[in-house]
């Protein structure tokens, strides 16, 4: 305990030097900006800025790059809430109720709750990294391919719980999502699947292309087809700040989201994406008014946003304690450390304590900065909704196209996103929900990868999923959750929503 306080003290003394505070601020600001711009993600930004960090000392460089990462998570929720474009898989959930709130004239409240939830999550996650980094690393290592597969099965059940309308339609969307994730070269044999012989499909579909297509472009088609609906958004602006009462009501979702996000963030291979989905499902299950989920529930923004930010931060744990990057951004951080001559690995804490603790402490300072940067901006963002749509949508389209092009410097990505936009619009017209599709797509890749890895390791024996206690218990949870979701009571609440709609 005292050790931890002493360590955090050392960290703060490093992170609070004028230079490091300035670097943290620059990182957070750049991060917010790339997060807000649809399609421009932290991975490309950090990769391009990597050579710039050569002239900095290692601690300063990592503080700035980390700031870009969690700053982008912050900014990403702004776009998801205001214009329904989730730039990252984790923001898909935020867009569900967040954008619905914006349509109800509660954009300010949604943005405020997202910012405050993220700050609370960031603060707690900082302490978690400092206090529980090593035990949590061990927990993450328990997840081999079999355990991971079972976790993903549980995630897919969450996708069913997530949906509002017909269960059959939700399952159909999940399956479509999984099928879309199968496009591209087979991971084991390299053989092309469902690529229609097209070069650009060899490596599969990028999530950003799918998300910007079905959500971003789809939303634009929707608004252009139905001008009245979007004028409603324009008319109502509402309060900018959450009241104390609203904050109190959403504190529990924030804390639950933080706990879920922190745990899932440690898992390798992007387990963090499950955090917001899990938080949404939990809040819906605990809510007295589950039927209102999807129509603009504050708890459905506060919880998942907290989970998102907590996961973003705890995904630093495997990087810092083992030198193992759980996602693409962390892989870049490894690159940044290598360039600086620091070998990432378990010895970093002992050999470079000022770097380790400085980075941890800077995350808390960065979260504080993000609140300070973002809260005054809420008023400005909300005003954006008042811009006439005929002026707003070309700007959104332009930014989307820039983002899509920058993925691989290939205009084919834009064409693909437009096709997904049309598909998204058609599905919306037919009353299909898109969030289960997005989740099916994201989880489908991991599901297949882990299934096959587990079966290769076990010589094709499917018992491997139940002989591991961890995997077996995850499967049990999935079955129970599914049973509850399809139970008559849950069905009834679905039908109620249907009547309202």
């Amino acid at each position: 305990m005292w050790d931890m306080i002493a360590n955090l003290g050392l960290g703060l003394s490093v992170a609070l030097t004028l230079k490091n505070v300035a670097l943290c601020f620059v990182g957070c600001l750049i991060g917010t900006l790339v997060g807000v711009l649809p399609g421009v993600g932290p991975v490309a930004t950090i990769a391009i800025l990597l050579p710039v960090t050569l002239s900095l000392d290692p601690t300063g460089a990592l503080i700035m790059l980390a700031g870009i990462y969690y700053g982008a998570q912050y900014g990403g929720s702004t776009t998801a809430i205001l214009v329904n474009i989730p730039g990252e898989a984790t923001a898909v959930v935020t867009a569900l109720d967040g954008h619905a709130m914006a349509k109800n004239g509660q954009a300010g409240l949604a943005l405020g709750l997202a910012a405050i939830g993220s700050f609370i999550a960031g603060t707690i996650a900082t302490v978690v990294i400092a206090a529980l980094g090593v035990p949590m690393t061990r927990m993450g290592l328990l997840f081999g391919p079999a355990e991971y597969f079972s976790l993903m099965v549980m995630g897919l059940v969450l996708a069913v719980v997530l949906s509002r309308g017909s269960i059959l339609k939700a399952v159909a969307m999940i399956v479509v999502g999984i099928l879309l994730s199968c496009i591209g070269a087979d991971m084991e044999t390299g053989r092309e699947r469902l690529t229609l012989g097209l070069h650009m499909l060899h490596d599969g579909i990028e999530f950003v292309v799918l998300a910007m297509g079905i959500f971003g472009f789809g939303e634009i088609f929707k608004n252009l087809a139905d001008p009245e609906a979007r004028d409603v958004v324009k008319a109502k602006i509402g309060r900018l700040w959450p009241t104390m009462r609203e904050l109190r009501e959403n504190l529990a979702p924030m804390l639950r989201g933080t706990a879920l996000g922190s745990i899932l963030g440690v898992l390798p291979g992007n387990g963090a994406i499950l955090g917001p989905f899990a938080s949404y499902a939990v809040e819906k299950r605990l809510s007295k008014t589950p039927e209102k989920f999807g129509t603009g529930m504050p708890a459905a923004v506060a919880g998942p946003e907290s989970a998102n930010n907590a996961g973003a931060q705890t995904s630093f744990i495997p990087l810092l304690t083992l030198g193992l990057p759980p996602n693409a951004v962390m892989a870049l951080m490894v690159g940044a450390m290598m360039i600086q001559g620091i070998v990432p690995g378990p010895q970093v804490i002992e050999r470079n304590p000022e770097l380790f603790w400085g980075l941890v402490a800077s995350m808390w300072i960065g979260n504080l900065m993000l609140v300070i940067i973002n809260l005054p901006l809420i008023g400005l963002w909300v005003k954006l909704l008042q811009v006439p749509y005929r002026l707003l949508f070309p700007a959104i389209v332009a930014f989307c196209c820039i983002g899509l092009f920058s993925i691989s410097n290939d205009p084919a990505q834009i064409v693909m996103a437009v096709i997904f936009g049309l598909i998204g619009y058609a599905l919306w017209k037919l009353d299909f929900e898109l969030a289960p599709l997005a989740l099916g797509f994201v989880l489908g890749r991991l599901l297949e990868e882990k299934l096959r890895q587990a079966l290769i390791i076990s010589d094709g024996n499917p018992l491997t999923f139940v002989t591991s206690p961890l995997s077996a218990s995850l499967l049990v949870v999935a079955v129970v959750a599914l049973a509850i979701a399809v139970s008559p009571k849950a069905q009834k609440s679905r039908e109620d929503v249907f009547k309202d709609a």
Partner: protein, 324 residues
């Protein structure tokens, strides 16, 4: 020679370029506009990191801008095609590594054969791999490893199908006469993670992806796959020393351009590459990445690629992993 950009100089250059119109570029005024250095992988990968560090220093050596452009896709074949189709004027170049240059021709029916459509300029660096085991297989030496492999099939993880870590382990199995089972991952990170977690037996991976865990004792390095020991792992023998005859494997990066590059421009680029690689700062960065700078250029680099192509062709054929 260095090239200072003055305002008058820049004006004269641009006037000259304007006056010459479409005349072919000559070595004297090369480079008179920014050079595009294509990387066949997404921003943020290992090749990208090397390319960006290399490009930044190459700018000084050449006295002109070098812009890294990521053209990922189709197992890195898209980048190869982009450069193969470009004008051979020295303004579009490619960072080529062994995957797309010498392995892919054995796996895919490529519309553009890299050996026929690309011109070797210079090999940049050669990075040996390291054979590591984790808690699942607590052996300390290569001899014990081979013993264990004979008792039961070992499972190895790789960074992906046909990656250096896949082929490196395949070749190890073939040279040592042991049966090994492949589990592909998406990138070296998740595979090393499962090695540390005790879910797989071993890996033949890039040195930077494992060195921290080896120094810490979490993983055990049995051998490096280069012809010589690696400076930061002095106690780890080469695979040949450790008793696997004739076994070397490495991941290398080189500079190539479209076929038909004027020899003077090619020579100028090779000289600039040599100057870049002589910079102690670049040297230490390559070393951190587990790589050794190379001196091969031009035809020698071409011969090296041809030999690599033949060698990996045999491995691919023996393992029967061709993609139809």
């Amino acid at each position: 020679m260095t090239f200072k950009i003055t305002r008058r100089g820049a004006l004269l250059t641009s006037l000259a370029a304007f006056a010459m119109g479409s005349l072919p570029a000559t070595a004297q005024d090369y480079p008179s506009k920014p050079i595009t250095l294509v990387v066949s992988y997404a921003a943020g990968g290992g090749t990208d990191a090397i390319a960006r560090v290399f490009a930044a220093r190459l700018e000084t050596a050449l006295g002109g801008r070098v812009i890294v452009e990521n053209r990922p896709g189709a197992a890195a074949n898209i980048g190869t095609e982009v450069v193969a189709d470009a004008d051979p004027d020295g303004y579009t170049l490619l960072i080529g590594n062994q995957g797309p240059m010498v392995v892919n021709p054995h796996l895919f029916d490529l519309p553009k054969d890299p050996a026929e459509t690309l011109e070797p300029i210079a090999l940049i660096a050669d990075a040996a791999l390291v054979v590591v085991v984790g808690p699942k297989l607590p052996v300390k030496t290569m001899a014990e490893f081979l013993e264990a492999a004979k008792a039961g099939e070992l499972v190895y993880g790789s960074a992906g199908n046909a990656s250096a870590s896949h082929l490196g382990a395949l070749l190890l199995g073939q040279k040592a006469g042991i049966a090994v089972k492949h589990v592909p991952y998406k990138g070296a990170g998740p595979a090393v993670n499962d090695l540390v977690g005790g879910h797989i037996d071993f890996m033949v991976t890039t040195i930077p992806s494992a060195i921290g865990l080896v120094q810490d004792g979490t993983l055990t390095a049995l051998a490096v796959t280069g012809p010589e020991r690696f400076s930061t792992l002095p106690d780890v023998p080469t695979a040949i020393e450790a008793g696997v005859p004739d076994y070397t494997a490495s991941a290398w990066y080189g500079l190539v351009g479209p076929k038909g590059l004027p020899p003077e421009i090619s020579a100028k680029l090779a000289a600039a590459t040599a100057e870049t690689l002589a910079d102690p700062e670049i040297l230490s960065k390559l070393q951190n990445d587990g790589a050794i700078p190379s001196t091969l250029a031009g035809a020698d680099f071409g011969a090296f690629m041809a030999a690599e192509r033949a060698r990996w062709g045999e491995v691919v054929k023996a393992a029967d992993i061709k993609i139809e």
